[in-house]
């Protein structure tokens, strides 16, 4: 039964990819919204990356919902997993010797990943990528040392602080637009010159908030899953 389901799934996937490869036309969608956004997004929002102008400009509330879903999922996982202490066997394997190659390469990669993640977040309105992608890279950057260097712990209080502040910042930017007589989460400020770092109004601020929130949330989640917490580090001391 399991094999049959997997076969059906693989077959369906292959069919879909073949549809893409040979470009079959399955129906004829009018695509009115897409065409309207393509025509107007650059002069209405001022972001060089059209995807960002949709994600944060036209569909800001959807993004807020997305953040809320992520927050709920991360909180639920932490609640379920945080109460389970790792058993002795597992914590013994965690205390294995520090491999010097692993440790050094992580120390080399950590600043590079940090720079890449922040670059993708800050340039979200100019180049592909943005808060979600950069946030996951940030979470990976902060999680790598936890995996590779034994005894390294993560500050859950600090993570919660960053997460809370960035989430509140996203909503506050939206409320500022609301109280200045516009719609909730409508882009604020002047558009600036398209393609410049300081352009597209408040979209970069929103994406920085999203990126920090996603990064903090996911690194906390990964640390919880790996059974690394500040409690365990305190107990060792």
């Amino acid at each position: 039964m399991r094999n049959l389901t997997a076969l059906l799934f693989s077959g369906g996937l292959a069919f879909l990819l073949m549809v893409i490869a040979w470009q079959f036309t399955l129906g004829d969608a009018p695509m009115l919204i897409g065409a309207a956004i393509l025509d107007n997004a650059v002069k209405e929002v001022g972001a060089a990356n059209l995807v960002t102008s949709v994600v944060l400009g036209y569909r800001g509330i959807d993004t807020l919902g997305e953040i809320a879903i992520l927050f709920t999922a991360a909180t639920a996982t932490s609640m379920v997993l945080g109460s389970f202490a790792m058993t002795d066997e597992a914590s013994e394997t965690e205390q294995r010797e520090d491999g010097s190659i692993l440790g050094s390469s992580v120390r080399l990669f950590f600043p590079l990943l940090l720079t890449l993640g922040l670059y993708i977040i800050v340039h979200g309105h100019l180049t592909p990528g943005g808060g979600f992608q950069g946030g996951v890279i940030l979470a990976g950057a902060f999680f790598l040392p936890l995996l590779a260097i034994p005894g390294r712990s993560i500050n859950h209080g600090g993570i919660a602080l960053v997460e809370g502040f960035s989430g509140a910042a996203f909503i506050l930017i939206g409320l500022t637009a609301l109280f200045s007589g516009q719609a909730f989460l409508q882009p604020l400020f002047e558009h600036g010159v398209i393609g410049h770092l300081f352009s597209a109004g408040s979209l970069p601020l929103l994406y920085i908030a999203v990126g920090l929130k996603v990064g903090a949330e996911l690194s906390g989640l990964l640390a919880n899953l790996a059974g690394i917490s500040s409690h365990a580090a305190e107990a060792e001391k």
Binding site: L13, A14, I20, A21, G130, Q133, L225, A226
Partner: protein
């Protein structure tokens, strides 16, 4: 271009089918990451770099890490087969 697409589809199918056949669960996790990586290249070909980036980062990075950590949590993070694990227990 069509050959690159066909190659990526072939890699994805190969990885997906062998994911069902391999004995080790850790290998299955790695193969699922390979599927996502090939898929992200397909997204680049389809001129969707944002989606490709998300697929590469989330699909092949984050979800593989989460699956591997979960295997570690339930003490299945071993290079042994499932049959051997059952024999041990």
């Amino acid at each position: 271009m069509i050959w690159l697409v066909a190659l990526m589809v072939f890699i994805m199918l190969l990885a997906a089918v062998s994911m069902l056949l391999v004995e080790s669960q850790v290998s299955a996790v790695a193969l699922s990451a390979a599927v996502s990586l090939a898929l992200s290249i397909l997204f680049v070909i389809l001129q969707a770099p944002d989606v490709a980036m998300t697929e590469a980062v989330v699909g092949s990075g984050l979800s593989a890490i989460i699956l591997a950590l979960t295997l570690n949590r339930i003490h299945r993070f071993k290079q042994t087969t499932t049959a051997e694990t059952e024999n041990d227990a």
